[in-house]
Point group: C2
Chain length 215, copies 2
DNA sequence: ATTACTAATTCACGAGTAA
DNA sequence: TTTACTCGTGAATTAGTAA
């Protein structure tokens, strides 16, 4: 990916024609006006940019290339492997227990996640620097446990991501989002009582990770 | 960002030492073994990579640079301007009306979004190709209208994003996520009855956009 | 085999300048 | 003013080869 293309991209030349002189753009890249001119001509002949009356516009080809670079970078940096979270167990409010006791949700978890959930969620308080990670996780395609209406009451859908908890338990991170928790608390479910299995209590440290295949 | 660094990144040299010969890596980049050798030496002296016994490892410096490039690309390609949605108005379930009638939520909207919401949400069915856009929106920093507990009942937090609806109404997209809607339905709120203001009915087309400043 | 040096060559850069 | 050409210089590349 050429320096010039990145500069034009940052100046939104993929959205609207960018009016600028070769001199000014060259200066921004720290190269001579002559070099910029020559390179720009090359980019035009390669079909990366269009020039119309002193205005620059990126072609579809350039934009596609930028997108694939962006995706490649994201995959290398964040995706592919796994997102690792660490935090401390915090006291739940009994909400998790309540919803996992509702047969329809339980069936949904069994169907979508492949295990029968222990009736209770583990709430983990993650440090502020992992909130970015959390948001990134939520931008991935979730497994959706459908919501429903029962006796006039609405039960919202639950977004879930299979997770490895404490390096050994196969469970899931869930985002019921009827939770009162802010962005710093994440909820985990598993086939068994996580606290018992890992022999931990409120306040203890815990780590978990979410696998992101190709997303 | 150097070609070599991108190649090493794609080979996960930021996670674990990569064993490879200069010849092989050079071939992948379409350059000579000699050029690769020379450039690698340069990258080491610049502090971008480490070489230990024939293995390559990216330094923190290189990883940081890759991250900032990734962010810059994402911002240029997806962020910066605005996310444009288009879809058809669908019948609501009266859920929106209900929750916007709850004083605490109403106060929350007034405080966080700066307008007094009309008691009712506009539900818009977006086409499948915009679901990716929706997920991207949700990965941005939202305005959070706090949840609360009242009379033993839990009212979850609401994530909101200020939006321009039908090119003229300043409202917001909300994600109560206690909604029964799937990922294809988005909910809008505004200071007034959107349907009346825009003179639209269920089934009509509508467009709205969300501004994303620096996020 | 491998990496990296030296030498030959190519090619990219920017000064000068025409249009 | 602007853009883009020519051309001399030097940097980057590859071939050959030593270690």
């Amino acid at each position: 990916m050429d320096e010039i293309l990145l500069l034009l991209l940052s100046k939104r030349a993929h959205k609207e024609p960018l009016h600028a002189t070769t001199r000014a753009l060259a200066a921004e890249l720290g190269i001579s006006q002559q070099s910029f001119s020559r390179k720009a001509i090359g980019l035009v002949s390669c079909g990366y940019i269009k020039r119309e009356g002193g205005a620059y516009l990126l072609t579809k080809k350039a934009i596609e290339e930028a997108k694939s670079l962006q995706k490649a970078l994201s995959d290398s940096l964040f995706g592919g492997a796994r997102l690792d979270f660490g935090g401390r167990v915090v006291r739940g409010l009994g909400q998790g227990k309540k919803f996992l006791s509702i047969p329809k949700y339980k069936k949904g978890v069994e169907k979508e996640l492949g295990f029968s959930p222990f009736p209770g969620t583990l709430n983990v308080n993650i440090p502020p620097e992992e909130i970015e990670l959390r948001l990134r996780l939520k931008s991935k395609n979730p497994i959706i446990i459908k919501g429903f209406v029962q006796k006039g009451k609405t039960y919202g859908p639950i977004l879930a991501y299979p997770a490895l908890i404490g390096e050994c338990i196969r469970g899931a991170v869930i985002f019921p989002d009827r939770s009162v928790h802010g962005l710093s608390v994440m909820e985990l479910i598993a086939p068994m009582d996580i606290k018992k299995k890992l022999r931990i209590r409120d306040g203890d440290s815990i780590s978990f990770s979410v696998e992101c295949e190709g997303c």
